[in-house]
Every structure is written in structure tokens, then in C-alpha cells.
């Protein structure tokens, strides 16, 4: 069944591609397209960061019975642009007796890792820059580089607070990466593939979170918790811990270098939500019911990137909700939570998922007629 998709960008992209192929040699066409994709991704990165900073401040305000930014523009909507300009023109402070080389290199690890993960996310139909066969593995891999930037930043700042923050961050990220990876693997068992586009395609009529019912739900919750912890936010923000460590690993950074950390923090929040959306909630796939063609057509009128950003926004809201509800955990409680609760549950859960898949207890196996697989 082909549905009308008037607002999709696939046609535009195909036209652009044809245009470049026609007027340029294949080599230069691919170079130009690569550059365009790069610019698009970096621009999207910055725009999403700005939007997220605004949304976060607004929602934070609402949770605290305040209004949040409300002065610049309507409802304070250009507040974060003003903040960006301020951070760009700020002085970069050079620190005496700090390890200069590492100090300047560290922010690039953080921002590089989050950009690399950002590039592989399927934003919509045909809106995926790279589609690796081992996409999930790639996401886990590149997001593990970020902690190096935090560690090096903490050490090279030559500051006790930064050092403590970096150590905490190292312990926390190494621990929680394990849970995040395991919960993603649970879904890989269910979907039978690691390619993000195939994972999205396989959730056409039923999302993975429903398809794998109990084990998938447990994996989803664990992924949200560990992803939240990996981004050093919410109740897990010990590396920064304003109250104890002033700002943790980025105490000594200023100007655009601090901006990198700030940007990466917000984008990591987005990336975690985006991965959860793609892997558990059907990615950019609109809600469809097998057999209801009229309904499906209406759903397809809403373009796929709107679906993607909508689902992601819901998860980001959840993340903010959690952040402003719970108090910060102590470091030993934090590590206990991972090693004594999340990891054992996760290991048990992945076995449960294997049993579910092998025994044919997934929804698609139990009710193939509903999903047009019979």
C-alpha cells in the first residue's frame, strides 16, 4: 500500500542529488553532497541545542511554579540566541599551570562524540546521514568517547573540584554504559538486526516496546535510566554537582569552550531520547494499523520527521520531569543502583527476551493476522 506523503523531504533530496550528478563529475558531486550534509547536520545540531536550552529553561520554570524566561521575544523565545551570542563573545580564560594541550583538546572529545552519534540518527524518511549495518553498536561505541573529554578536562584544569568531578564522571559513565548497551542489545535480539533503518522499518505496525511486551518495557525503562545517568543530568549530575563541586569538570572553562560542554550536554540528552525513540518507539514511523487504510493515510500526511521529533520531545519532557523531581544521589548509591540493581535485572532481562523471541511469545508471533504477517 502506497500512501500519499506530501510533506516528506525524500523527493527534494532526490532532486538535489540528481541536480548535482547532472552538473558535476561524480567525484565533485559526492564532495559537494558530503559538505551539504555536514553543514546540515552541524546546523541542526546547533538549532536543536538552542531549542532544547529554551525548552529546558521553560519547563524547569513550570515545574518550579515559575514562568521561566519571558522577556526576550514572545514568551522569551529568543533568550537562548542571546545566550549564545553572549557565550560566543566571552573571553576564553587561560589558566596558569594547567596542561594547555589537554585543556584545549578535551572539549573536542565531548562535542565530537556527540556529533558522531548525532549523525547516525534517522530523523525521518530518507533523513539519515549514515546507515551502518551495525548502527546500534556504532552509537554505543561513539558515545563512549565523550567521557574521555570529561576525564581529560577534569585533570588538565589543575583544580581539585574538576578532578573530583572527572573521577565521578568516569566511574559513573563506565558503569552506566554497560546497562545502556545491554538494554539496546535486548532490542537487537528482538529486532534481529542492528541497522537503525531496518529497526525502524520492522516497527511499522507495532513498536518494539509493545512487540516485546514485558522484557522490552523493562529494557526501555533501564535504557532511560542509564541514558539519563550517562548524560550526567538529573538526579545523576554528580560530576557537576553545583553545590559540592562548583561545576565539576568544567569549572575552569569559559567562553566557547564551556559552550561546547553545554551544547554537548543538551545534545546528549537529545541523542539518548532519539535512540530510545528509534529503537523502542518506532522512530520516524507514523502510527499505523494494519488494514485501516484511511487512518494510515491520515497518519502519513503528518511527515515522518514530525513524528520523530514529537516522540523524542515526549522522552525529553520525561527526562526533564525526572530531573526536577528527584534529589541528587550519593556516589555509592549511584554505583549500587547500577551494579546491584540495573545490571542483574538487565542480564536476567536479556535472557527473558531471548526466551520470548525463541518461544514465539512476541506480539507479532502471537497475533500475526493483526500485523499483516500471516
Amino acid at each position: 500500500m502506497n500512501y500519499k506523503q506530501p510533506l516528506e523531504l525524500t523527493g527534494l533530496i532526490a532532486n538535489l542529488d540528481a541536480f548535482f550528478r547532472e552538473h558535476l563529475s561524480p567525484f565533485w558531486a559526492s564532495v559537494v553532497e558530503g559538505l551539504l550534509i555536514l553543514i546540515a547536520i552541524v546546523a541542526l545540531y546547533a538549532v536543536i541545542a538552542l531549542a532544547l536550552i529554551y525548552v529546558e529553561r521553560k519547563i524547569t520554570g513550570f515545574f518550579q511554579s515559575r514562568l521561566g524566561p519571558n522577556r526576550l521575544g514572545k514568551y522569551g523565545s529568543i533568550q537562548s540566541i542571546a545566550d549564545m551570542i553572549k557565550i560566543l563573545i566571552k573571553e576564553i580564560i587561560h589558566i596558569n599551570r594547567a596542561d594547555r594541550f589537554l585543556f584545549y583538546v578535551a572539549p573536542f572529545f565531548v562535542i565530537g562524540s556527540s556529533l558522531m552519534a548525532f549523525g547516525a540518527i534517522p530523523f525521518g524518511k530518507g533523513l539519515q546521514a549514515v546507515d551502518f549495518k551495525m548502527g546500534v553498536l556504532y552509537l554505543i561505541a561513539v558515545s563512549s568517547i565523550g567521557v574521555l573529554g570529561v576525564l581529560l578536562a577534569g585533570w588538565s584544569s589543575n583544580n581539585k573540584y574538576s578532578m573530583l568531578g572527572a573521577m565521578r564522571s568516569g566511574a559513573q559513565t563506565i558503569s552506566y554504559e554497560l546497562s545502556a548497551a545491554f538494554s539496546l542489545m535486548t532490542v537487537v535480539v528482538l529486532a534481529g538486526t542492528m541497522q537503525l533503518s531496518e529497526i525502524v522499518e520492522s516497527q511499522r505496525y507495532v513498536w518494539n516496546i509493545f512487540n516485546g511486551h514485558i522484557p522490552a518495557l523493562v529494557a526501555f525503562v533501564i535504557f532511560l535510566i542509564s541514558g539519563h545517568a550517562e548524560t550526567n543530568r538529573g538526579p545523576f549530575d554528580l560530576p557537576e554537582a553545583e553545590g559540592e563541586l562548583t561545576a565539576g569538570y568544567h569549572t575552569e572553562y569559559s567562553g566557547i569552550q564551556f559552550g561546547y560542554y553545554y551544547l554537548a550536554e543538551y545534545l546528549n540528552m537529545f541523542i539518548v531520547a532519539a535512540i530510545a525513540t528509534t529503537v523502542f518507539l518506532g522512530g520516524w514511523m507514523p502510527i499505523q494499523v494494519h488494514g485501516w487504510d484511511g487512518f494510515n493515510q491520515v497518519m502519513w500526511y503528518i511527515p515522518s520527521y514530525v513524528w520523530f521529533f514529537g516522540k523524542t520531545a515526549l522522552l525529553i519532557f520525561l527526562s526533564l520531569w525526572v530531573r526536577w523531581t528527584f534529589p541528587r544521589l550519593r556516589i555509592d548509591i549511584l554505583l549500587n543502583l547500577e551494579w546491584k540493581v540495573l545490571l542483574p535485572i538487565n542480564l536476567f532481562n536479556i535472557v527473558m527476551m531471548v526466551i520470548t523471541v525463541l518461544a514465539g511469545w512476541t506480539l507479532t508471533d502471537l497475533f500475526p493476522n493483526l500485523f499483516g504477517l500471516a
Binding site: 519547563i59 515545574f63 511554579s65 515559575r66 525526572v322 526536577w324 523531581t325
Partner: protein
């Protein structure tokens, strides 16, 4: 076995408690916001009467105040923000009397402790809650409280 059961029940108890906490913040999210948007709500703004921001010397309709220029407020002020200058004049019936020339108050170094108002024997000064006292330079923060041409209110001889 007992430990295992406790482990599992603990997880569910924890989930229940966390959800309870999230319910509280969910209600807060939709609750009425308490932020006051200041310049817009100037007409409806309510400032508490106990808020002290500007020292005034109330004058009545005859341009008379109650300050006898005794200088107690000046002596009591911890920051020396008040200075009272007075002169002595001779009244009609030959008595010498102290008259207030200038009562200046420097808002810039005032801590709004209220000691001057509390110790004033004739209740000549009072704090108002008019908080919009911002000016463009320091010199403008020095106010003269007695109006030009004002004089001391005569005590009515009731007895």
C-alpha cells in the same frame, strides 16, 4: 530466598515511591505560576505594608510636619545616613526654639533597619513601601525629606 524476595519487593516499592514523587511535580507543572511580571502588573501590584523602601516625612495639608529637629534619628542611625541641620529662632513671645532647616537622607547607604522611625519621639518620619527608587547616579540618592517652606506643626493646646 528471603533476601531475594526483599530485593524484588524493594524494587517495586522504589518504583511506587518514585512515581508518587513524580505525581507531585506533575501537579506543580500545571499549577498556577507565582511569577509576577513586574512592569506589566504595575497597576495590580501589591507590596506588603511592612516593606520598607523609602523614608518619608509626612506633611499635612498646611505644609506642616512633626519633626522637632531633635536629632535622635541621626544619632540612632547605624550607617549615618541621616543628617539633620537646624537653627535656633526666637519666637514672638521671646522663647528660643529649634527649627528644622534640612533633613537629608542618603538612600544609598541605608540598610532600612527602621531604627530611626522606631526612636522618633514625635513620629515625624515613616517608611513607605514605594520600591521604585532606582536613579541614574549616586548623588540622586540623597533626598531632602522636608518640603521647602514647611514648618513644625504647633501642638494644640487642649488642656
Amino acid at each position: 530466598m528471603k533476601a531475594l524476595i526483599k530485593y524484588i519487593t524493594d524494587i517495586f516499592v522504589a518504583i511506587k515511591n518514585l512515581l508518587k514523587g513524580m505525581g507531585v511535580t506533575w501537579k506543580q507543572f500545571w499549577a498556577k505560576k507565582v511569577t509576577m511580571e513586574y512592569p506589566e502588573n504595575r497597576d495590580t501590584l501589591v507590596i506588603s505594608d511592612r516593606w520598607r523602601s523609602e523614608l518619608t516625612m509626612p506633611h499635612d495639608e498646611n505644609n506642616e510636619h512633626a519633626c522637632t529637629a531633635c536629632g535622635i534619628c541621626m544619632m540612632n542611625c547605624p550607617n549615618g545616613t541621616i543628617s539633620v541641620t537646624s537653627s535656633t529662632v526666637e519666637t514672638e513671645d521671646g522663647k528660643k526654639k529649634r527649627v528644622l532647616d534640612a533633613y537629608t537622607w542618603n538612600q544609598g547607604s541605608c540598610t532600612f533597619c527602621n531604627l530611626c522611625v522606631l526612636t522618633c519621639p514625635s513620629k515625624a518620619i515613616a517608611f513607605t513601601n514605594d520600591f521604585e527608587g532606582a536613579v541614574f547616579n549616586k548623588e540622586k540618592l540623597i533626598y531632602r525629606l522636608n518640603q521647602p517652606g514647611s514648618k513644625l506643626r504647633e501642638k494644640k493646646k487642649t488642656q
